[in-house]
Symmetry: C2
Subunit: 339 residues, 2 copies
């Protein structure tokens, strides 16, 4: 794809879907030959700071509906940014900013409730909103409420999503697909008999426990949000130059999510999470990491789900028990406005 072909196009939903099209848009239009911290396309920027590293990250949240089972845009906005910091090794945020864009006519009572969620989530993560900005757009110019949160934190050692090596084990910190399935059910009014709940949660406490227990053995981390575990694994494998073999039978999936996914014909690997991490670990440290994870409320269902290999760098092989198949990188828009 040349620059000319990209710029003749229009923005489509897939450009915000966290998959291949979004990555290409960022590479061709936003980065376009740029060097420096952003060019790593990590979850956050790494700015050397004395002997440590300042991590700086941003996320705009456009989720619909604003309130969903298990959380709301307030919880999401804090967790999203705290988790991006944590994934890079900054588990004690110095602070977050909060930029709100609100539609004229939005209920101030609802805004107050969302504000309360922001505070509760900050308390949970041991951080605070330290600066903010408020813009109002006319009725119909924006749908309800958009929240940007940016965050800074110090990482004694930076963990990247590109650090996997052949032999490393891949751990997921818990069940997959909970957030996306809960939002989808809430948005479309699906009911599956069993309640679905988003997993939205700040993970910095969980990740701190892992890094305290096994710091140097953690080779890569990433939170599987838009595009789900499939998208995150592709990014990790591609940047690290390894192949990843996933054992499908080891993937932790709640029965309710499994049932809903079966009815809708969607692979849980493609569904967004907001309270999970993928962790690459040196083989010898798997036990220590699993123990640290399972001792924490957010990591009880942690499991080893696969391993890194030298073959087919950038590819994800799914072992289904009946053979292996290539898991393709998600591209289209499974569910817009999931985060």
């Amino acid at each position: 794809m040349t620059m000319a072909t990209v710029t003749a196009q229009k923005i489509a939903m897939k450009h915000g879907a966290g998959g291949r099209s979004m990555r290409r848009l960022i590479e061709k239009v936003f980065l376009n030959g740029m060097t420096g911290p952003a060019a790593a396309m990590d979850d956050g920027a790494v700015i050397p700071f004395g002997e440590q590293f300042l991590i700086f990250t941003t996320d705009s949240h456009v989720i619909h509906p604003l309130v969903f089972p298990g959380g709301d845009i307030g919880w999401l906005s804090v967790a999203g940014t705290v988790n991006d910091l944590a994934m890079m090794g900054a588990t004690e945020p110095l602070g977050l900013t909060c930029g709100m864009v609100v539609e004229e006519g939005f209920s101030i009572e609802d805004l107050s409730r969302i504000q309360n969620s922001i505070r509760a989530a900050c308390a949970d993560a041991g951080t605070a909103i330290v600066a903010g900005d408020t813009k109002v757009m006319r009725r119909g110019e924006v749908d309800g409420l958009i929240i940007n949160t940016s965050g800074i934190g110090i990482a004694p050692r930076v963990v990247r999503d590109s650090g996997l090596r052949p032999g490393d084990q891949i751990i997921v910190t818990g069940t997959i697909g909970d957030h996306g399935m809960a939002v989808m059910a809430a948005r479309h009014g699906f009911a599956f008999g069993v309640p679905l709940r988003s997993d939205v949660a700040p993970l910095n406490g969980l990740i701190r426990a892992v890094l305290d227990a096994a710091g140097g053995s953690v080779t890569a981390m990433k939170d599987p949000t838009r595009g789900g575990v499939a998208s995150a694994l592709h990014e990790m494998a591609g940047k690290s130059g390894v192949g990843i073999v996933i054992d499908e039978s080891l993937l932790p999936v709640r029965p309710a999510v499994r049932a809903a996914a079966d009815v809708l014909g969607i692979d849980p690997l493609l569904i967004a999470n907001e309270g999970k991490a993928l962790i690459g670990v040196e083989p010898g440290a798997t036990g220590i990491v699993l123990e640290a994870l399972r001792s924490h409320p957010h990591g009880r269902d942690a499991a080893v789900i696969g391993r890194c290999v030298e073959e087919s760098p950038g590819s994800i092989l799914l072992d289904t028990g009946f053979g292996q198949r290539l898991l393709s990188e998600p591209d289209g828009e499974l569910l817009p406005r999931i985060c």
Copy 2:
């Protein structure tokens, strides 16, 4: 206004206008008893960092139209955040983040042009976008493009908008009303014979020159964006506990802006600026500061416009030459989506 009365209301355009209603919304809903860096309601948060201070700030930009005479949303997004950092004494940004929310169908060519403006503005300010985020909303869910930029920088000494003392002189770094008037003309297709141009520009180089020349004598700074010079002066006077007397005849206003303001019946004091600062200076240092300002391309029209007094703390007195009148704090929405 009690919490109950606030929360029974709906968000109105005035809640994003930078004036009294916005301040009350922030105090009652967003801060609501909160302490810590955000409670200062400064342009950015101050986080002590060794012997220096980390400044952290955020701004969402919703300007309409996206391109206007003298700039576009790309220039604005960088200048807005760089200037917030500079106003607090951080004139060398460590980096900015950029969170884009784009409407489906938006031209990728236009997005590339805006991206080029972002780069040019960053180069001008000696900084870079170090991390980003892209979200896409469906056609009709957001009007075109919203850009959030957050920024961090180090301030050897923090300057606040609350540091004015009786006797301090008030300096404006150049002509007022250029940005708002240019955007208004572009939006509504007004033509006044003379071209109007936004003053949008990163001011960190200018402010660095001032602080290098007269550092300790600068008691307060603020950039008069939404709500114009009137709103910024009210905030500075209120927080500092001083009155401010402005000599109307000393206000630098371009003839084209004056003419347009006269036709539209708008006071230039109420019109937004995106490349100007208000600086409080100890009386003895006025000459040094003016010299530093006027030696810089962005400060050629700098002028002393008033002085701080003990009387009527929080009030702005406008000396019209025919007498003095109180300048009221702007509240309603003069021009939505100005930044």
